[in-house]
């Protein structure tokens, strides 16, 4: 990347760890790379993949990577444990993680889950979400059996080993299940008392944020351009993603198309610029996590994020 920058500008290397393997949600990053937006901003972006969904936060905090994609509640939890990370931008502004039941199930709202089994990936936040949703809907959260299903949310529900799953994303699990001929109903957490948190945020360490504001800004400017590009021409955006990935893994076009279609509205922020964050959102999320005992003491909402 260095040599074809052409303008003699020195490039700053920035490493970013994805929340998961590359998919439609990351197409704005790849578009930025492909179109040379990052180079224009003097950023040499390097994308990495995690071993575990928790690794990005730990590694960004310890300075092993500069940036990472993670989840808003995860950032709150980290900060509550003195792990020095801050959110820099909200990439997906609404929850993707929703409660899913088979379409032909007799469960018509979360309260019907009383006496049923819900599969989830042993993440405490999912436990809290189910409790809040069932409780708000007038059901008894104590009556819901939670089963850790590890990585296998989809097989768990499609082979009817559980009645519902929590932790699945509407742009991934739902799409894939439907593709395999297993349509699902989803219950939106926001409809049942869970705050409208940011599903995906860009995080960095407090130290990095303090020391490299310009670099972060440059990075984000390029990312914004990338996002604009994808928003304008989603199909081309996906083309880039596919091209970038063809050397490693054959993604499925129809799945990613559908996924991006779902994602784009959830990533756009209307009048505000892409990625902007509000203190209210942080406050609500912190409050909810405190109520559900996901964190033990209150943390400052405005310290949790920085704005460009």
């Amino acid at each position: 990347a260095l040599e074809d920058s052409g303008q003699g500008k020195e490039l700053n290397r920035v490493s970013l760890m994805l929340d998961w393997y590359p998919n439609a949600v990351h197409s704005f990053l790849y578009a930025g790379l492909e179109k040379g937006y990052y180079e224009e901003q003097g950023v040499d972006l390097e994308i990495k993949m995690p071993a575990d969904t928790n690794d990005p936060l730990k590694l960004v905090a310890s300075g092993q990577v500069d940036l990472a994609l993670s989840y808003q509640p995860q950032v709150v939890m980290a900060r509550a444990q003195q792990i020095p990370v801050v959110s820099y931008a909200a990439v997906v502004r609404h929850p993707l993680n929703m409660l899913m039941v088979p379409e032909d199930s007799d469960i018509s709202s979360p309260k019907d889950l009383s006496g049923k089994t819900v599969g989830y990936p042993a993440i405490p936040m999912n436990e809290a979400m189910i409790q809040t949703m069932v409780g708000k809907d007038g059901g008894d959260p104590q009556q819901v059996t939670l089963v850790d299903v590890g990585w296998d949310l989809m097989p768990a529900i499609s082979t009817n080993k559980v009645d519902a799953i929590s932790g699945g994303f509407i742009n991934h699990e739902k799409v894939l299940l439907e593709k395999q001929g297993f349509p699902v109903k989803v219950f939106h957490p926001v409809d049942y008392g869970v705050p409208d948190y940011y599903e995906l945020v860009l995080v960095t360490s407090e130290e990095f944020a303090k020391e490299n504001p310009e670099l972060l800004n440059a990075f984000w400017e390029a990312s914004k351009k990338g996002f604009e590009f994808v928003k304008e021409s989603p199909s081309e955006g996906l083309d880039i993603l596919f091209k970038r990935q063809e050397q490693s893994f054959p993604l499925e076009r129809d799945v990613e198309e559908k996924s991006l279609e779902i994602l784009l509205p959830l990533m756009s922020s209307g009048k505000e610029s892409f990625g902007s964050q509000t203190e209210q959102s942080w406050e609500d999320t912190i409050q909810w996590m405190l109520e559900t005992k996901l964190i033990e003491q209150k943390i400052e909402a405005k310290d949790s994020y920085v704005t460009p």
Binding site: K58, S62, M77, V147, D148, D152
Partner: protein, 255 residues
């Protein structure tokens, strides 16, 4: 006495070194906590760990190891004594070892649901292989002269097997058993990722998801203890089962 002291000192030094290294090098505690922190959270959560999670993992390891030994020996015997079976079975057994869990776990869930048997299955899968290889090698190594002698006595293949090849393969079997006993703990841990609501593997994953490295390592500590305990148990059984093998060395060295 003196030796035990030396061991104690070494262990203390190691722990101290670890503690100092982490504090000195500012290794982030959420990545690798110092022993003191691990110890504190072990103290804090010991009831939960010892009474809820430990027994459940132990049970998986016990059942899994038992079945692994059974299956390992049976498979090894088939490999050694059935020629075609051996040529087909051995590669299958090897192949079974290389299947990553992501491919296996949906199948196991389909078969076993979230019962203990899915976890046991993974434990068995991981730990039966060292037993197979060692028993196969042990059985194949039997001295031909002894086999000949037993043949002249009119021994049937079955008798040669039980009275000669099995005792002769015991030392080798125990090498495999010690490996199996240790990796069975990993097996149960991984098995719990399949889906569980208790067990040290489940606990460690939750702790990691909760970014609680101290609790994570508290459970790792207990897992290691189980591993060491099982290993030592097997070693103890080994010494009891093949006294002729050890007695020989001991007596001749004592003098």
């Amino acid at each position: 006495m003196k030796k035990n002291q030396a061991i104690l000192i070494t262990v203390v030094l190691l722990l101290l070194g670890w503690e100092l290294l982490i504090r000195g090098l500012h290794v982030p505690m959420y990545i690798l906590p110092p022993p003191s922190m691990i110890f504190l959270s072990l103290m804090k959560e010991w009831k939960l760990l010892i009474f809820i999670h430990l027994p459940s993992t132990l049970l998986e390891v016990l059942i899994g190891l038992f079945l692994a030994v059974l299956m390992g020996v049976v498979v090894a015997v088939l490999i050694v004594f059935s020629r075609i079976g051996g040529k087909v079975l051995y590669p299958l057994v090897i192949a079974s070892q290389t299947i990553p869990l992501v491919a296996l776990s949906p199948i196991l869930i389909m078969w076993f649901g979230y019962s203990i048997w899915g976890k046991v299955a993974i434990t068995v899968l991981i730990s039966f292989f060292p037993i197979v290889v060692n028993v196969v090698d042990g059985l194949r190594a039997t001295n031909e002269e002894w086999i000949q002698l037993m043949k002249t006595m009119g021994a049937s293949p079955r008798q040669i097997f039980w009275k000669l090849q099995i005792p002769h393969a015991l030392p080798s079997f125990f090498s495999g058993l010690k490996v199996a006993a240790t990796v069975s703990v990993v097996g149960a841990t991984i098995g719990e990722w399949l889906g569980a609501s208790e067990g040290l593997g489940f606990f460690s994953r939750r702790a990691s998801n909760n970014l609680q490295a101290d609790l994570l390592f508290a459970s790792v500590f207990l897992l290691s203890l189980i591993g060491i305990a099982f290993f030592l148990l097997m070693q103890w059984i080994e010494k009891r089962s093949i006294p002729w093998f050890y007695q020989m060395k001991k007596i001749e060295r004592k003098r």
